[in-house]
């Protein structure tokens, strides 16, 4: 039997796309699905997915766990495990639409949960760390169960197939979000199951990524020292953990995180002011194992905003544009035009230069 993704490492080429409304205006998933159509050739039908922010306003205080189950057995085992750890306020099957391009669907369920208060107190962790450990535990230890989304008021939807088919399959036209990101995948090997599709998420961070990073194992072996387990062996997974580690645990700002993972070259640092030099040299010394090399363009989604970033040599295409209160980002301008034909301020961010978009205060 051929190996499943996670048992082997599969390099991929990809298409990515995102749209965000700075005023928090809600958009259905239709536009973001359309943006993936002109980039069809960037995928090969072996993976597609979306992340939407602000989609569960009625349950916004609960962690929304989206879980794939191989069968009823793995579901039972996982639910048994969850029962002791979290309060489940609602659970349901994620509604899907039969779509010709999407086959071999696992059981796909959604749970809105909160940490069990006494267990949380006993663990001496904050609730994010508590949930993160549960997610990693399930993904590492419960065979056939895989949590693929775990943030509050956001959700990831992904499958093996072309992204436009995946979007229709998950009925994204029925969800409304202030920010959408999308991913189409061109893996060089058959992933074998749906967990390998993207976006990859942890808590409310989600990442879509195009590239194949050459620093993968250096990054993985470093980040695994801090309790993360890279079960999928994908770049996106390790980048997500790096983002979580730097932003949530080390309390870096987004700009600072960009200076770590796409660190400026020493020759560039030499040209900065003394104050900047000191900080950048500090990052390159302390977080040197989190420098990500090789081609990547990523869009990191989080509650209230997103960040786009290219590797420091800009070895992957990435275009940004604006229209009204919206910011649009994609691998190709064609994808942006599919969403907003009259998009303005088309720009090509330089390698290592982060594009950070935040919603206006109180807009989400």
């Amino acid at each position: 039997m051929s190996k499943l993704e996670g048992q082997i490492r599969i390099p991929s080429g990809c298409a990515i796309s995102a749209v965000i409304s700075k005023t928090g205006e809600k958009m259905t998933g239709e536009k973001i699905i359309e943006s993936m159509i002109p980039m069809h050739e960037r995928s090969n039908g072996l993976g597609g997915g979306f992340a939407g922010y602000g989609i569960y306003p009625e349950y916004k205080d609960f962690f929304a766990l989206h879980i794939f189950f191989r069968d009823a057995l793995s579901r039972r085992e996982c639910e048994e495990y969850l029962k002791d750890k979290v309060e489940i306020v609602k659970q349901e099957s994620i509604h899907v639409r039969k779509t010709p391009g999407i086959k071999d669907a696992p059981l796909i369920r959604r749970y809105f949960v909160a940490p069990m208060p006494c267990a949380l107190a006993a663990s001496q962790l904050d609730e994010n760390e508590y949930i993160m450990r549960i997610v990693i535990q399930i993904n590492t230890d419960i065979a056939g169960a895989y949590v693929f989304s775990s943030g509050k008021n956001m959700g990831i939807f992904k499958a093996v197939g072309y992204p436009e088919d995946v979007g229709r399959f998950y009925r994204l036209d029925e969800y409304e979000a202030y920010c959408w990101t999308a991913h189409g995948r061109y893996p060089t090997n058959t992933p074998g199951w749906w967990g390998g599709a993207h976006p990859f998420g942890l808590l409310d961070y989600s990442i879509v990524h195009n590239g194949e990073i050459s620093s993968y194992d250096a990054n993985r072996r470093f980040i695994e020292m801090f309790g993360y387990r890279c079960t999928l062996q994908t770049d996106t997974e390790v980048i997500t953990y790096i983002a979580d580690f730097l932003l949530r645990k080390q309390k870096l700002t987004l700009q600072e995180m960009a200076s770590v993972i796409a660190a400026p070259f020493w020759s560039e640092i030499e040209r900065k002011t003394d104050a900047e030099k000191e900080v950048l040299a500090y990052f390159r010394t302390v977080y040197s194992s989190l420098l990500v090399t090789g081609p990547f363009s990523i869009i990191l989604g989080f509650t209230g905003g997103l960040m786009a970033l290219n590797d420091r040599l800009k070895l992957r295409s990435m275009v940004t544009a604006e229209k009204g209160d919206k910011v649009l980002i994609a691998s190709e301008e064609a994808a942006i035009r599919a969403m907003e034909p009259d998009a303005e301020n088309i720009a090509y961010p330089a390698g290592g230069e982060p594009v950070i978009v935040r919603l206006k205060e109180g807009a989400y």
Binding site: P11, S214, A263, T293
Partner: protein, 501 residues
Amino acid sequence: MKINYLSPEFEVVRNEDRCIKCLLCVKQCANGVYTYDETKQTIVIDETNCVNCQRCVALCPTRALKVRKNDCGLRENGNWSENTIREIFKQAGSGGILLSSMGNPEKYPVYWDKILINASQVTNPSIDPLREPMETRVFLGKKPPSMVRKEDGSIDCSLPPQLKLDVPVMFAAMSYGSVSYNVHKSLAKAAQALGTYYNSGEGGLHEDFYCYGENTVVQVASGRFGVHKNYLEAGAAIEIKMGQGAKPGIGGHLPGVKVGPDVSRTRMIPEGTDAISPAPHHDIYSIEDLRQLVISLKEATGYQKPIIVKVAAVHNIAAIASGIARSGADIIAIDGFRGGTGAAPTRIRDNVGIPIELALASVDRQLRDEGIRTNVSLIAGGSIRSSADVIKAIALGADACYIGTAALIALGCHLCRSCQKGKCNWGIATQVPELVERLDPEVGYQRLVNLITAWKREIKEMMGGMGINSIEALRGNRLMLRGVGLTQKELDILGIKHAGE
């Protein structure tokens, strides 16, 4: 007449047609292989003391000389090798411990040669070091566990002391005494020019070299030779030598013949006395004692210098390193069983210790498993022979490499493995003034700079091929390596996959 059981190991062949009787060979051979017979007007050759250092061959202006293995060997035997028999003859004659020098030459596996490096094809681009920046700078030292902000929100950029290396290769410890003044001068100047470090070794630091302090690691070994406050303060870092790959479990041994006035003053010992380091540090009988020495040295130097603890790669190296990583030390240097030496008992050199590749891989994994890899940096030494070995060591988990033998070869060493005799014809492992002056430190320094510059270029080419443009992204990046012809157990210890996987 006393029977000489040993026939000469080498045979010197002189081409009479080419020889112009310039007598350069007679002057050059400190081992006395050549003499000139005035009456017969001929060069007489006695190979008894020939070590095949190739000095005469290299200098002969008409290429009239050749040194080759003496084919008048013993009767072949699959069990009793000629070498074994010769060693028994020697011991039966002397009653002494056999001495050797340089690294273990026996046929143990060289894992470097069974590891292959990756390159990018199609799915990601290789990077061209001629056209794009390619970074080889590393910082060695303890890294803080988490970032701290000051009250105004800015980052507190203070760090424990770090060594900054422009290329991840340092010159390993070789003491003044075992090697010559001119070797030290060549190493010091080269380290300065290359933006890296050389290591004083355990024999103190000659007063002339204090000016290279910013590029010097000063060593504190069990003999404490030449150790005083100014010495500790002279270097950029202090290395506690717990062990050496060539002779784990025993101390250094400098024969009195090498202890002349200058060496005597630098080591702070009487002229002509053997400088024998105790096997253990007598203030370190356990790991908690090591911690006390680490802290003492830090106290003595105001916490301004990183402390390196150098250990030989032995069976339990991973646990030992884990203990050192919690001792307050900033850097661990691991020396594999192939590491060189100026003098070691042959049996120990050839039978004690383990390969650096396995030791390094185990240590790096252990420290990561325990979440303490950032407590220390790792330097791997003990036969790093080329830039490819450096790449492989870094991908296995080293922050940098030490080279000793390779540096000496750059200076002219021909690996005749006779350093303990003190008659190095290349002016390297000797204190005889007329031999020492054969190595011009200006030439030596330039050759070292050339070697490391060449390696740096090759490192950049290989990094670029892998699509990596900073050496830090290679550190511990074991997916970039594959094994060939290794057992599953070996692959598991190295933490790499087999080629084809």
